[in-house]
């Protein structure tokens, strides 16, 4: 019995006293909620992240009006995606933590150049979430998109995007595709199937004032994002875009349509339209 106690104490102190190896207090972590990937010149990769600011959120609940943004946008570059992410540590006092990352946003140029090696990192890393959504920004870079995107109804853009993706996934609308990192990679690896990612566009919240141009315009006008359509890949390279109608066709073919609105001409009265709601559709899992 006494021997057992000695062994127990030794083991117990060995396991508790030598240090708390993997302990990460919440206030030492920077929660990354969205992540953007671009390719810059000299074949460098640029990573842009949204890091949530918990204290700003807390203050917001105390006084209803908070001028402070609830997130911090920061970018860093490196020769590979992993290096770029590691370089973020030099700028962030709180260790970026990717387990809550919900979006991987890819700039159009980067997507056209190929994303396989970048996404591979997120597939293999234990921290990253395989259910993060893969989105491609049409006509812009991911950095520009992430720096400006904001939703009126949510303090964190990722929460806003999550809200939209949620009902996309539920199939409220048949137009956008739903694409997680997992399904993207699955299609990438499989023979005979090519991946399709979500197309996002920046939509100006206010129409630009006439006369304001260039940088001024970018600084003043906040943008919101719009999901819809699809980015079509061949291999890991973006080859083109599908509009809403075409995307619905893709969804019909892959059996992903759950619901949505079909607008057709009224058969017996020319010039008038009828909206049909899809209630049930054959599903493929």
């Amino acid at each position: 019995m006494s021997k057992f106690i000695i062994i127990f104490i030794t083991a117990f102190s060995a396991s508790t006293l030598t240090g708390c190896w993997n302990r990460r207090e919440l206030d030492t972590l920077g929660f990354v909620t969205a992540l953007g990937v671009d390719r810059t010149g000299e074949s460098k990769i640029e990573i842009t992240v949204h890091v949530a600011k918990p204290f700003a959120i807390a203050r917001a609940t105390e006084s209803s009006v908070s001028p402070e943004k609830a997130f911090w946008v920061v970018s860093s570059t490196g020769s590979t995606a992993f290096e770029a992410i590691r370089n973020l540590l030099l700028q962030s006092p709180r260790r970026p933590f990717y387990a809550h990352n919900r979006f991987i946003v890819i700039g159009e140029e980067c997507a056209r150049a190929g994303v396989g090696d970048i996404l591979d990192l997120f597939a293999r890393d234990g921290e990253a979430r395989r259910l993060a959504r893969v989105e491609v920004v049409k006509g812009s870079t991911a950095r520009q998109f992430l720096e400006q995107v904001e939703f009126e109804l949510e303090r964190l853009p990722s929460e806003g995007g999550q809200g939209i993706s949620r009902y996309v996934q539920e199939g409220v609308s048949a137009e956008p595709v739903d694409c997680t990192l997992n399904s993207f990679l699955r299609c990438l690896e499989a023979e005979g199937v090519e991946p399709v990612a979500v197309r996002v566009e920046a939509v100006p919240k206010m129409p630009a004032a006439p006369g304001s141009v260039g940088d001024l315009l970018r600084d003043q006008v906040k943008i919101s994002s719009k999901h819809g359509g699809a980015a079509v890949f061949k291999g890991d390279k973006l080859v083109g875009w599908l509009d809403e109608r075409e995307t619905r066709g893709v969804n019909w073919v892959t059996g992903k349509v759950r619901s949505g609105i079909l607008v057709i001409d009224q058969p017996n009265e020319k010039g008038k339209l009828v909206s049909l709601e899809i209630l049930r559709a054959p599903r493929a899992s």
């Binding site: 190896w21 302990r23 990460r24 207090e25 929660f31 921290e127």
Partner: protein, 541 residues
């Protein structure tokens, strides 16, 4: 040196005593087989010397026989005897009727058979026994020239009324609890088991305290081997005193170093009676309302009589909540620490951001914060139990303010930690048996340390270690984790859910195997023409 001091003093005192000078044997300590001396003066000297100059010793001289020829010494301890019995049934009758006898022997027989109007009169020829009887509240009578003595059961002292047990309150069920007197307690049991098969065996334990310990069981239901084992374990106790059944428990339990009690204690007669009917054995100790029950299983510690008295669904639901509360009180703080410091990915983003914003500015790591709050809570709880009832509320108000408000505002702890600790604290009070709750509380700190160093793995490892320990425990031959390990499907009737009484056909298999069947299978009630009633009635005819 210190230990021998009283004996030394005793020797000096006895030598200087005037009564002891005539007979040499008076000065010596009494041996167990000390014969009764003949002369009444010598007897008196012996008695007075044995009790020293205790102020509650009353030695009264009565004179009987023609012309008060013979002296009778009446010896009792004031406070332990019922004075009414002494004066009415003994002194009055002795002085009225004891004047016809010729010889001391005749007087002695008269006293024993005719005069003393007390139900229980015993005779002893041994001075040691005589003194023991007196010490227990009997009234002793000694006479000149008779080498024997009479002891009459005149015990009667102030005792607490039968009240509702304070530590085990129920909403439904009997409101009576055990008291400190053994005889009252055995009577409470007898009143619930009106059958001669209820056996109550009494032993005196403690070389000085002479505490009566009774073993109660229903013969034919209890396993005779277990009863014998209880007798053996009680028989090997050789200590000077027993004040509470807790000491008996520690001296007979299977696993002395376990954080879990392997003997159940209760102050509810209905619980004890229920256990007796299952074939278990109760150990009653004089001087305490807490009765021990053996053999027991872990699940018994989480049941209350209410589970059986309320209707089956309610009883089962209450029990399920209690299991949940027990588990919560054991692991909730450690789960919180593990999730917030090791597995942040498990929580939804809004919640994790919310917790992070609350922890903003808290200077301690979460483990330290949790430990701090838990210790603070334990101190408050302990203080709340010990404090006089008048200041109790004041302390709880201060405690609530200190823990709930000030510590939070001072930025020492996060609000969510207060919620966690408060939930844990309340959950630990839902465990019906204090000894188990306290075990869980202690283990909670170990779990907290494990969670703080190894996260969820630490918790699982801790729980599994606990499972190993619990599975290897036995209580008087019965596996402590039965019916979970080993799995006994027949006992699931009384595990998580309690089946209705009419379906409780058998006693627990490992305890009540002497007479397994509790009742017939025809007890399911129903309206007169319902299928179950018809079936049952048909069987009866």
């Amino acid at each position: 040196m210190l230990r021998s001091l009283p004996r030394l003093l005793g020797k000096i005192c006895s030598v200087s005593k005037p009564g002891g000078t005539k007979n040499d044997s008076v000065g010596k300590p009494l041996s167990k087989s000390c014969p009764m001396p003949k002369k009444v003066k010598v007897k008196e000297a012996f008695i007075r010397q044995a009790f020293g100059n205790s102020s509650d010793l009353v030695v009264r001289e009565l004179h009987v026989g023609p012309g008060g020829k013979f002296t009778v010494l009446m010896v009792y301890l004031d406070g332990l005897v019922d004075k009414a019995i002494i004066s009415e049934n003994m002194i009055e009758r002795i002085s009225d009727r004891a004047d016809r006898c010729r010889t001391p022997g005749q007087a002695y027989d008269d006293l024993k058979n005719r005069i003393i109007a007390v139900s229980d009169v015993k005779e002893t020829g041994n001075l040691y026994d005589f003194l023991n009887y007196v010490a227990r509240g009997y009234c002793g009578l000694v006479m000149d020239d008779v080498p024997k003595a009479l002891v009459a059961d005149t015990r009667g002292w102030a005792q607490r009324n039968i009240e509702e047990p304070t530590t085990e309150a129920t909403i439904r069920g009997a409101k009576e609890g055990f008291v400190e007197t053994l005889r009252t307690n055995t009577a409470l049991l007898r009143r619930r088991v009106k059958h001669p098969r209820l056996r109550i065996e009494e032993y005196d334990i403690g070389t000085i305290s002479k505490t009566s310990v009774a073993v109660a069981y229903i013969s034919g239901l209890a396993d005779e081997k277990v009863v014998q084992e209880v007798r053996n374990r009680l028989g090997r106790i050789n200590v000077d005193s027993i004040q509470e059944s807790g000491q008996v428990e520690e001296l007979i339990e299977d696993a002395p170093f376990s954080p879990f009690p392997t003997i159940l204690r209760t102050e509810r007669p209905d619980k004890v009676a229920g256990a007796l009917f299952e074939g278990r054995i109760a150990i009653l100790t004089d001087g305490t309302p807490f009765v021990l029950i053996v053999p027991v299983t872990l699940t018994m510690f989480l049941t209350t009589p209410e589970d059986y008295f309320e209707r089956t669904f309610i009883g089962s639901a209450l029990r399920a909540i209690r299991y949940l509360a027990f588990f919560t009180s054991l692991t909730l703080p450690s789960l919180y620490v593990a999730v917030t410091t090791f597995h942040q990915e498990m929580l939804p983003t809004p919640l994790v951001l919310n917790i992070a914003s609350q922890r903003e500015g808290v200077p301690f790591p979460a483990v330290v914060e949790a430990l701090l709050m838990e210790v603070l809570f334990e101190i408050l709880r302990e203080a709340g139990v010990r404090l006089p009832k008048i200041v109790g509320p004041a302390v709880s108000i201060i405690g609530a303010l200190v823990i709930g408000e000030a510590a939070m505002r001072a930025g020492l702890v996060s609000p969510i930690m207060v919620v966690v600790v408060a939930t844990t604290g309340i959950a630990s009070f839902a465990t019906p048996v204090f000894s188990l709750a306290i075990g869980a509380r202690l283990l909670r700190f170990i779990m907290l340390l494990l969670a703080g160093s190894l996260g969820f793995f630490g918790i699982v490892a801790g729980l599994f270690g606990l499972a190993i320990h619990l599975t290897s425990l036995r209580s008087f031959g019965v596996p402590f984790m039965e019916p979970i390990a080993p799995i006994l499907v027949s006992e699931f009737k009384d595990l998580l859910a309690r089946v209705p009484w009419w379906a409780m056909h058998t006693r627990p298999a490992l305890v009540g195997h002497e007479d397994l069947v509790r009742q017939g299978r025809d007890q399911k009630p129903g309206a007169p023409d319902s299928p179950s009633r018809r079936l049952a009635d048909k069987k009866q005819i």
